[in-house]
């Protein structure tokens, strides 16, 4: 991963490394550049557990969708990423947290094509399909938490 591409340095939190120690990190999500950073950190974490190209692309795409939702619908927030489990059972876990307006009807929000923001309405439902584990907690006025996980089937 070659991350540096005109990314403005914004003080301390930006000094992350994209390498193997991507685990256990908290990434704030307040700008479009932060969404890119989420993708990079997710890519590094999938590399750490030895995921295949397809497994990585799926997970990183889901991360991108969820980070964008955090930014656009949740008014900003953060992503926590960790590698949990041992040996071949290791998985990458990502949790997206915001204190935004919350989702009144989760079932509807998870329907393909449903969007309140003029999007395609594929982000949330797509992320669910792309990850092996998907959990969402949200209520009006209480913000939104989405937790996803994936692992590799490679021997």
């Amino acid at each position: 991963m070659r991350p540096e591409q005109g990314r403005p340095t914004r003080g301390g939190t930006d000094r992350e490394s994209d390498g193997a120690d991507a685990a256990g990190e908290v990434i704030p999500i307040h700008t479009g550049a932060d969404v890119s950073r989420v993708r990079r950190v997710a890519t590094a974490a999938m590399a750490t557990i030895g995921a295949s190209k397809i497994e990585t692309t799926r997970m990183v795409t889901a991360a991108s969708e969820l980070a964008r939702n955090t930014l656009e619908h949740g008014g900003g927030g953060e992503m926590r990423i960790a590698i949990v489990g041992r040996m071949s059972k290791r998985k990458v876990e990502m949790t997206f947290i915001d204190q935004g307006p919350g989702i009144p009807d989760i079932h509807r929000a998870l329907t393909d094509g449903y969007s309140t923001g003029g999007g395609l309405g594929l982000g949330l439902s797509g992320a669910k399909r792309l990850c092996k584990e998907f959990e969402i907690k949200s209520a009006p006025g209480e913000g939104t938490i989405v937790k996803v996980a994936s692992w590799t089937e490679r021997p």
Binding site: R7, R39, G126
Partner: protein
């Protein structure tokens, strides 16, 4: 601030009546918005007939970038240029399908050469039709 030194702009090259742009890096949202504007202007100025967008270096195309690619090709169409997205990787293609994005109306080709072929075929067919009329 000079344009050509700004790293967050994607350069657009002209080959004959085609515009070629190669997306080399993880796209930040801002960059692709700028690209949309730049490209529309270039098409209008150059009277280009085709736009080739090479995404073979892209590891991830999410629904936002997917939508932007579709937008770009719609805008180009109105400006009378056809867009071909070239070089999409297998993992990206599978993921887009899984997301539910079929990029309807966007044309695709395996690489820049094939994309160029496609555009040439279009323009010569069009010329043929004009000739018949």
């Amino acid at each position: 601030m000079t344009h050509y030194l700004e790293p967050s702009r994607i350069p657009i090259f002209q080959i004959g009546d085609c515009l070629l742009l190669t997306i080399q890096v993880d796209l930040e949202d801002r960059m692709i918005m700028t690209l949309k504007d730049d490209l529309a202007e270039r098409i209008a100025k150059s009277h280009a007939k085709g736009v080739l967008i090479d995404i073979s270096a892209l590891d991830v195309v999410d629904s936002f970038i997917g939508r932007m690619l579709a937008n770009i090709s719609a805008i180009a169409r109105i400006l009378d240029a056809s867009t071909v997205i070239v070089g999409m990787r297998p993992a990206v293609a599978i993921t887009l399908v899984e997301l539910g994005m079929s990029l309807q109306g966007v044309r695709t080709a395996l690489d820049v050469d094939r994309g160029m072929e496609l555009i040439r075929r279009d323009t010569s067919e069009e010329a043929g039709r004009l000739h018949e009329a």
